[in-house]
């Protein structure tokens, strides 16, 4: 059967998103519903509650914006991994319900691979080295021998988690990234912080602790202020990310660099990755904001790629897997 329209459901963390995308990559609609905690971080049970209450509304809204009926959908795709278990389940349940109700095929998709695939589509890029930076992931990946191999990753907390946690400690509400970026922009006073690169892997937890100590020190607000700490945190963490990306670039000899994930929106990080890409004579692309964060369109698109390469999954094959790594999955639609 020729697939014309796919409905993609993203539900791995705070965002419940539904995207309707065509076989040629046209996005007909994309509707997001993001859980924003009043205080603290993401509490899975509360996120789950919000998604459960809203999921059908968002699906309907996506159909309305695309001006189509649910019967015009030929394929359902959803995010089955990685993410928070209770939240992945809602996506899986909604997708299984729709596949049986409408009697159309279903495809389960890995969230990280979807980030790369939508980036390749939107930036018209062939074979990039990808730096994927978000609240849940920090991965340097490239396609090699049939898989998206992980060349570098965080050994502890993801970069987005570092920034969000730090923002929360200083009383800035979620999402903290854009606010920290603004504060950092106002300073150029660098305070020494731990810089930890192990081969192509990174560690951010020591950096987080050290930044927190700077806030607790008696010199805080005397010799330096919050802007300076935010600036130093960003400069150190992003220099680490840029260094491992450059290492991976030299190692894989790819000709394109793709920056994606929620933290890709940061202008300073973009500037740094752009700089090393230019130095190596490689093309550099940032995935547009709408598609760099978690979104249903990327799930729909990746689901379509897999369906066209090897057909759909049976319902039994659509079990969620909160801890699946992207390098465990074969990619039949490339090569």
């Amino acid at each position: 059967m020729k697939i014309k329209k796919v409905l993609g459901i993203e539900s791995t963390a705070h965002t419940w998103s539904v995207g309707i995308i065509g076989f040629d990559g046209t996005v007909f609609s994309l509707v997001n519903d993001m859980y924003i905690p009043e205080k603290g971080g993401l509490h899975p049970a509360l996120v789950k509650e919000q998604h459960l209450n809203n999921f059908m509304n968002i699906i309907n809204q996506a159909l309305l914006e695309a001006s189509i009926s649910i019967h015009d959908i030929d394929l359902i795709a959803f995010s089955k991994s990685p993410g928070l278990g209770p939240i992945l389940k809602i996506g899986a349940q909604a997708a299984r319900m729709l596949t049986q109700l409408l009697d159309i095929p279903i495809v389960a998709v890995n969230h990280c691979i979807a980030h790369i695939e939508i980036g390749r589509l939107m930036c018209k890029i062939e074979d990039p080295l990808t730096l994927y930076v978000s609240g849940g992931n920090t991965i340097v990946s490239a396609y090699e021998s049939g898989r998206y191999q992980i060349f570098g990753e965080t050994l502890d907390i993801p970069i987005g988690n570092l920034i969000d946690s730090f923002a929360r400690d200083v009383g800035l509400p979620h999402p903290g990234g854009p606010k920290i970026e603004k504060l950092a922009f106002k300073s150029n006073k660098y305070l020494s912080l731990p810089y930890v690169v192990k081969g192509m892997d990174l560690s951010f937890s020591g950096l987080y602790t050290a930044a927190k100590r700077l806030l607790e020190s008696k010199d805080y607000n005397k010799k330096y202020n919050l802007n300076d700490v935010a600036y130093s945190l960003q400069e150190t963490a992003f220099a680490m990310l840029t260094e491992v990306t450059e290492r991976a670039l030299a190692h894989t000899e790819k000709k394109e660099v793709l920056l994606t994930g929620g933290v890709a929106a940061n202008k300073r990080l973009q500037e740094m990755i752009k700089y090393i890409s230019a130095e190596h004579g490689t093309r550099f692309e940032v995935v547009p904001l709408k598609y760099s964060g978690d979104n249903g369109a990327m799930i729909g698109w990746t689901g379509l790629l897999r369906y066209e390469a090897e057909g759909g999954h049976t319902v039994l094959e659509t079990q969620i897997n909160p801890k699946e790594r992207m390098d465990q999955i074969t990619i039949p639609w490339r090569d």
């Binding site: 991994s81 990685p82 992931n137 090699e144 021998s145 898989r147 191999q149 992980i150 060349f151 990753e153 965080t154 050994l155 150029n188 660098y190 020494s192 810089y195 690169v197 192990k198 081969g199 192509m200 892997d201 400069e235 150190t236 992003f238 220099a239 840029t242 260094e243 450059e246 290492r247 670039l249 030299a250 190692h251 894989t252 500037e271 740094m272 700089y275 090393i276 897997n321 909160p322 801890k323 699946e324 790594r325 390098d327 465990q328």
Partner: protein
């Protein structure tokens, strides 16, 4: 005097440093230059470059004494973050691997394992073991290069991380050869290490698998 030092051509541009080929008082040398990285702020940049230059030069000098093949250091200059070292004519293991048979691969990886064990036994952590950082000379000597991320440690954990990183590179870049190569590597490592401390290598290798289970997104069933 100045004629004695001649930088002839850019030999290789890596992620962190540029290697220039030239002559230094009649000797064939590589000038390893850690040039400023303009993407990061000057203060941080300077700190990283000076630290790694000193670190690498010291490591190369010390490690050579244990009989590990590394380029000899002739001169260092922290101001320009440059190390002048002996030119080693050879091919990166990464490129060399495609042109040899399995038994040859095993032999080479066994020997690499031996060298890494010598480093570890003496408290040296390479910090960036990859197939790009190992050279094979025309007479098939093995040289370990690029000690920029080297550190001193006697902890099991640091040694395990060193092995773990090497394993990851083999898996991601040489997936089909991974098993025979890494098995041979561990065999060489274990044998050499056992000459000094019989049980420590076991512990290091066991801890390496523990590190893997700490990795993000590893299913319980897949933890070996």
């Amino acid at each position: 005097m100045i004629d004695e030092i001649v930088i002839e051509k850019l030999f290789y541009k890596g992620a962190e440093a540029s290697l220039f080929y030239g002559h230094w008082f009649g000797k064939e040398v590589i000038f390893k230059l850690r040039s400023p990285k303009n993407y990061r702020i000057e203060q941080l940049d300077k700190k990283i470059r000076v630290l790694r230059t000193l670190n690498e030069a010291r490591a190369l000098i010390k490690v050579k004494n244990y009989g590990v093949n590394v380029p000899q250091v002739y001169e260092i200059d922290t101001e320009s973050s440059t190390i002048v070292m002996k030119y080693i004519k050879g091919e990166k293991l990464k490129d060399f691997m495609n042109s040899i048979e399995d038994d040859k691969k095993q032999q080479i990886f066994n020997e690499i394992g031996k060298y890494v064990a010598i480093l570890h036994k003496n408290g040296h952590i390479h910090g960036d073991l990859t197939t790009s950082n190992i050279l094979i000379t025309p007479i098939q000597e093995i040289f370990i290069i690029d000690f920029g991320l080297h550190n001193y440690s006697d902890s099991i954990e640091d040694k395990s991380v060193d092995l773990h990183l090497f394993k990851r590179v083999l898996l991601s870049s040489h997936g089909t050869d991974y098993k025979i190569c890494f098995d041979a590597f561990l065999e060489g490592y274990r044998t050499e290490y056992a000459k000094a401390k019989v049980n420590e290598s076991k512990e290091i290798i066991r801890n390496m698998t523990t590190i893997e289970t700490r990795g993000r997104y590893i299913k319980k069933e897949d933890r070996k």
